[in-house]
């Protein structure tokens, strides 16, 4: 008898609610069979069984919310349950291959003889991670917590196609098929019923687009459907959430960084020699941001549920455009680093982002984000707050401009725009404005 516990489904999730039990006491259970549906503040997921055997006792009734780690049910391992799919040592693989075993789509005996795996059946389980180890429930739970979507649901081709054509977010649709599968009809209902689902906007604009969206069959040849990678989905989810949940205000200041540019020019060769990395403007900018955040701690914060948390440590996210998509690795303890330390950390994180070597802890726990939009030539941008953080600042491209100075003299100066988006729930314009003004002062003071 082993106990299955509430997994941690995502960072900062502390509890989960049992939406439905998918197995009842006495039901045979194959490895990775969905035991129940769990809802947390971040995701809804099915809990794959880390064991195979027979469902024992249900310890948490449907509808109840319990802490991560709480016992949910027991599973009697081995024998009886395993006898259903097969009697030998290949139980788990057999169970996986037949897919519907125990479900309503079981294989009729006549087909069973010639066709051990009916057409299409393996697809149901093809999303299951192949390396599941029945002896390590913790591992299984950890897998769920980092990649809930990969294990959680199988989408049929029809469902994927409809969702893409109508820009439907499948994650929010409640499935009525076997094991909670989202069916074509569920998507149809979401498209027609909700009305919140807009026809695909992005492909092209102009008067034709509405008509095209209305007749998917005709428009099929007009564009290429790009399958969404998990990274793309995560980016999309996070940005959408930020825009939906955080009312964001935007403001910009212009700073004269002629002194900073000269300093960097003076230092860069010696710096490369001594430190082994290129000296860019970004470490200076990050250092100035850190110092300014100490002055305005309300921006070094996270909006967690109903709680606004101000942080003492400065864990600064740096947006990196990698070949695999946007990632925001975090310089933990950035407030303790000098220019050299920041430069090395930025180079290290950016390189590891490019080579996909970032660890989970490298991308978690940021308290504020810096975005070097100037690197692709932008002179003004409106960043989206990296939820649940409350502020993000950009350093735009440094450009030489003719500037009217104090005594009405016109001078050629190196100018940079600094843009700030902030979650207006967490702070007001006066604080945001104060932050930017102080940042500007710092940048202009560097010489």
């Amino acid at each position: 008898m082993t106990t299955v516990t509430m997994p941690q489904l995502g960072e900062s999730v502390t509890e989960g609610t049992i939406l439905a039990w998918l197995k009842q006491p006495g039901d045979p259970i194959a490895l990775d069979d969905s035991l129940c549906e769990i809802e947390t503040e971040k995701v809804t997921a099915e809990l794959p069984s880390p064991y195979e055997g027979v469902m024992g006792e249900i310890l948490v009734p449907q509808g109840e919310t319990v802490d991560v780690g709480a016992a949910l049910c027991t599973v009697v391992e081995g024998a009886a349950g395993a006898a259903a799919p097969s009697a030998n040592g290949h139980q788990s693989s057999t169970a996986r291959a037949s897919g519907w075993s125990g479900g309503p789509m079981s294989i009729p005996p006549d087909e069973d003889k010639k066709a051990p795996a009916p057409a299409g059946a393996p697809a149901v389980e093809a999303t299951a991670p192949p390396e599941a180890d029945p002896r390590e429930p913790a591992q299984a739970a950890a897998r769920t917590s980092t990649k809930p979507d990969q294990r959680q649901r199988f989408y049929s081709p029809a469902v994927m196609r409809l969702a893409q054509e109508h820009s439907v977010d499948l994650a929010v649709i409640r499935g009525t098929g076997v094991g909670g599968r989202v069916t074509r009809k569920d998507v149809d209902a979401a498209i027609s019923g909700a009305g919140t689902v807009a026809p695909a906007p992005a492909v092209e604009s102009g008067p034709q687009s509405a008509a095209r969206a209305a007749s998917p069959a005709q428009s099929a040849a007009a564009y290429t459907v790009v399958p969404l990678t998990p990274t793309r989905r995560t980016i999309a989810e996070n940005l959408k959430r930020s825009n939906l949940e955080a009312p964001q205000a935007w403001t910009m200041v212009e700073a004269d960084v002629t002194g900073l540019v000269r300093l960097r020019t003076r230092e860069k060769e010696a710096f490369l020699r001594q430190e082994g990395v290129e000296l860019t403007l970004l470490p200076y900018f990050t250092l100035a941001v850190c110092e300014t955040l100490r002055e305005f701690p309300m921006l070094n914060a996270r909006w967690e549920g109903e709680e606004l948390r101000h942080y003492g440590a400065l864990d600064i996210g740096i947006a990196v455009a990698s070949a695999h998509g946007l990632v925001v690795p975090v310089i933990h303890g950035a407030g303790d680093l000098n220019i050299s330390g920041l430069a090395k950390r930025i180079v290290d994180l950016a390189q590891r982002a490019q080579t996909r070597k970032l660890r989970l802890e490298d991308i978690e726990g940021g308290t504020f984000t810096v975005n070097n939009t100037g690197s692709f030539g932008s002179i003004a941008s409106k960043p989206i707050v990296n939820y649940p953080q409350v502020g993000i600042v950009t350093m735009e491209r440094v450009v030489k401009r003719a500037v009217v100075r104090d005594e009405d003299a016109i001078a050629v100066r190196s100018m940079v725009n600094v843009c700030l988006s902030f979650d207006h729930r967490a702070l007001d314009g006066v604080e945001a404005g104060g932050f930017l003004a102080a940042l500007k002062r710092r940048l202009e003071a560097i010489a």
């Binding site: 309503p104 003889k113 066709a115 057409a119 098929g177």
Partner: protein, 325 residues
């Protein structure tokens, strides 16, 4: 004319066609006496030597038909039971099917081979076979298997008029089981066209012959359970009407193919492949097949025959699973 059985539809069509065109003649075992199923009943008395008894030799029946067609006649041969046709396999598949191809379309071979087929009639191993897959594999032979009397009439006429060899399959079980008011039947169909017999939104059942009726019956039962089945009557098995197959598959995203022919190498495989190949993005469930089990022949014992034959209950059960998927 009004209401008639399948066998009456066949007989009346043969009669009408023979009256229309005196090049048409019938040959087969015992056809002068009306045939074992009475499809040619009374025709010998009416048309005399245009209805000819043949020896018990199917290769000869088909071979004679090929020769007669070459000479400008319009033979309509009867194979007493489809099970017996295979001794004429070489004549059909190596000769008749290729004639137009061999002559680069310069000449054609207008002939029809009628064959009562299928099980569920307690016919045992030698009087129950489904033979359609063997001959549907052969390009150059059209294979037709209607389910309703009106379609028997229109498609038998079309088969006789067609310039190519047509294997016209008549399911024994429905000869007298199915009646239809042929004057008020759905619009006449053409060779190589399937028909959506019953519209539906939840899943598509594709069938032909006797199984079409079992599928319609299952669909009726399921309608009472809130499951809305589309039912497609293939009508022509070679060439398949891929357009209608794909249209019906795309409409529901869930497809169940039913035939009493054995599973492996049966038409269900070809239909599934067509759908998987051309409508993959519309599929919402694995394609399901209900078919006879892979055993060599239809068993004689009643219980075993029941086990072998797909029926409305088996179809409904599979359709329920598919609807729930």
């Amino acid at each position: 004319m009004a209401t008639m059985t399948v066998i009456e539809a066949v007989r009346s069509t043969l009669d009408e066609e023979m009256a229309r065109d005196d090049r048409i003649f019938l040959l087969g075992e015992d056809v002068e006496a009306g045939g074992v199923f009475r499809a040619t009943d009374g025709l010998h008395a009416k048309y005399g030597e245009r209805v000819i008894d043949s020896p018990l030799a199917e290769s000869s029946i088909i071979g004679i038909s090929i020769g007669a067609a070459h000479y400008g006649l319009r033979p309509v041969a009867e194979i007493q039971f489809a099970d017996f046709i295979h001794s004429g396999f070489d004549q059909l598949c190596s000769e008749a099917s290729r004639w137009s191809y061999r002559t680069n379309g310069d000449s054609f071979l207008p002939m029809v081979v009628r064959a009562p087929w299928g099980g569920g009639v307690h016919g045992g191993q030698h009087h129950s076979q489904s033979i359609e897959a063997y001959y549907s594999h052969m390009p150059g032979i059209k294979v037709v298997a209607p389910a309703f009397p009106a379609d028997f009439r229109s498609l038998l006429k079309a088969s006789i008029l067609d310039p190519n060899p047509v294997l016209f399959l008549e399911h024994k079980r429905i000869y007298r089981l199915i009646k239809q008011d042929v004057d008020n039947a759905p619009a006449e169909t053409q060779l190589s066209r399937a028909r959506i017999t019953r519209p539906g939104a939840d899943l598509t059942i594709i069938a032909y012959g006797f199984m079409l009726h079992e599928s319609l019956s299952a669909a009726e039962t399921l309608a009472g359970e809130g499951i809305d089945c589309m039912v497609v009557d293939l009508l022509t098995l070679n060439p398949l009407d891929t357009e209608t197959i794909l249209e019906s598959a795309k409409a529901t995203g869930k497809v169940l193919v039913v035939h009493e022919d054995t599973l492996t190498g049966g038409l269900g495989g070809e239909i599934s492949a067509i759908i998987a190949e051309h409508a993959f993005e519309y599929l919402d469930a694995p394609i399901r097949r209900i078919a006879g089990p892979d055993v060599p022949a239809m068993p004689y014992h009643h219980a075993m025959e029941e086990f072998f034959m797909p029926n409305r209950e088996k179809i409904a059960a599979a359709a329920r699973d598919l609807a729930a998927y």
